[in-house]
Amino acid sequence: MKIQTALRMEESIIESARREAERQNRSLANFVETALADALTGANSDVPVLSLIEGDDLEDAVALDDQGNVDHAETDRLLHLAAVARRDRNGIDDERP
């Protein structure tokens, strides 16, 4: 859902952002949204990040090809990813007071 908001910011910053957005063929709103999202996405991480739905268990999970058959090579990749990835299952804790 989009909302409208008003912020007082330095004109020079806004002008720079507008120019950069134009250069990237994007709207200023989209450019600002992306910059904010970047800032909220977290620190750099060399470790892969795998976002999972709470309660999802990858034990016995299998990767499927486009015909719905089990793809063993892809399943191996998935299980490796599950073993090494940083998983922020408890991210919701961030919102606790």
Partner: protein, 142 residues
């Protein structure tokens, strides 16, 4: 509607900090594969794509695939972008996460075999760079 490996699809990719909540804005994601969990539920394993220089800079060396503007346009998209092979999400195939999943234009573009191979090679490179902790190397027990 079909879920096809190698497709680029619109997705409310979650912030890592809030993995169970759809992100606030659409991102084009790359569908690596569908996954079936033990209880039979399906999930889509998607990789983040980004146009943000800051996010691109944060990707570890060797774990990104850059798509030039020309190649992006050839696939039916507009701008150059980068696939972040090390930022993934396993998401239910539901409208809450994939808002266009019931629409005809759900699949924005398809990667060709060459690009799919390049992505899979980077994904495999990650396995070499970050070995699984389940593999124990050390003196054997006799």
């Amino acid at each position: 509607m079909t879920w096809q490996r190698g497709s680029f699809i619109d997705c409310f990719f979650p912030f890592a900090e809030h993995p169970a909540r759809p992100g606030p804005m659409r991102h084009i994601a790359y569908l690596q594969t569908m996954v079936r969990l033990r209880r039979g539920e399906l999930r889509a394993l998607v990789m983040l794509t980004t146009t943000s220089p800051r996010m691109i800079q944060a990707i570890p060396e060797g774990l990104s695939v850059k798509i030039s503007r020309a190649n992006s346009v050839a696939m039916g998209m507009k701008n150059a972008f980068t696939i972040d092979v090390h930022r993934l999400a396993l998401l239910p195939p539901a409208k809450e996460w994939f808002p266009d999943m019931e629409r005809p234009h759900f699949i924005i573009a398809m990667a060709d075999e060459r690009l799919r191979d390049a992505i899979t090679k980077r994904y495999d490179a990650m396995r070499t760079m970050i070995p699984s902790p389940a593999v124990r190397l050390g003196p054997s027990v006799t």
